[in-house]
Amino acid sequence: MTTLQSMQGIFKANFDLAPEVLQRDAALEDLEIDSLSMIEVLFAVEDEFKIVVPHEPAAWRGETRTFGDLVDYVDKLIAAQHPAMAGGEVPA
């Protein structure tokens, strides 16, 4: 499963958003995903990808205008924290 697919799964489970609307170019604002929502899914994202999201909310929010930006940011964290896994496969 790709990072995108896994993220779609997390957002479906937490916010009942269908994968069809969770496309790379979808603006988070249009999906009504705000800073509070991002904090709410933080633990789920950390668990799913076995990563630690840095403890600055700005980093979690600032670079993320679209769902694709968010997926890229998670990929960046995976690459930094699990070098062997870089490329999008979720660590087991």
Binding site: N14, F15, D16, L36, S37, I39, E40, L42, F43
Partner: protein, 417 residues
Amino acid sequence: MRRVAVTGIGVISPLGNDPDTFFNELTRGRSGIVGLPAPANAPAGRPTVELPRNHIGGAAAFDGARYFPAPKLRMLDRVSQFALVAAAQAIRDSDLVFDHLGRQRAGVFVGTGMGGAQTIDDGYFTLYAEGSDRVKPYSVLMAMTNAAASWIGIEYGLLGPNLTYSTACSSSAVAIGEAARRIATGDVDVMIAGGSEAPLNYGTLAAWDALKTLAAPDPDDPGASCRPFAKDRTGLVLGEGAAMVVLEDWEHAQARGARVHAELIGYGLCTDATHITRPSVAGQAAAMRRALDAAAIQPDEIGYINAHGTATLANDAVETAAIKDVFGPHAFRVPVSSTKSMHGHLLGAAGALEFVTTVLALERQIIPPTINLHAPDPECDLDYVASGARSGVKLAAVMSNSFAFGGTNAVLICRQG
């Protein structure tokens, strides 16, 4: 001063989740107090310390998932879920539709003693029991005492005052009384007012247990544990739920042809300023007198008193003495009942639930009983309606008493609308 109409009622309670069911169960003399097999909503892995007295309560058969989609539900402590559903019932019952101007002149006053107690308990469990720092991100927003009132305001876009009163067991009587004042003075035309409480979690039950004010569970029948005014009473039983009313300027209600359940004519408020828990005859009597003065009626015009009646040793004798002090010879003629015998003590929601009880009693001309009162306390010698609900009465005005730890006494009086 403007007159205040009660035009909508909503109830979530241990005796049912709408006003009709609630009042019918009260008049049947049914108890909603049950054994709690495990603390309500306990997450898996909850420590299994046995507390001696905490395993009964007035539990509401309420599943938030029936009312809220998952993303919203996760932001709502049980106390806010109760409040939102009860408010929705009350607004539906009132037939009110808030237009732009109406939203500017409408507000929300809610009473709660403990706010999002379940969320706080869950947070401590995560932190101390699980040794994890993953406290739920929404914890602050769910636990804050004003969450319930805020969510109601957001739901209906009400732009007037939004306040939360926390005066322990009189919280929601205060919220209703203060809301009525805002309407009476002309600040607003419509108020959603009431109370909500969800205290049946492990930590809250343990804290109340430690205070030694909880009733000893009846070994055969949990529903027989709360015995207000009885010689063998042993304490209160905690309950959960919410009651909300729509209060409305009388002319505003008439102009739109609203059905009026009752008119709120008196609100008496005073403070004991003596002891943090011990009730005072003088304080309780003063609150009743102030309510009668505000209503401009005589004591003998009151046809029913819904007592605070907690079934603690201290309260029931003091309240009986206070009623005698205020009502004189009429004290022995006016029916007094404690419906806490059936729904338990809803703390911050108690005043609102019992205010609703008096409104429904007035509307239906039926007085709900005090159950479990088989062995009267010689110090409690009034007519407590112990043998079952009383119909065939002529109620013109009714009183609801709410007293509290901390000493804030609040009394509400209604008459037929």
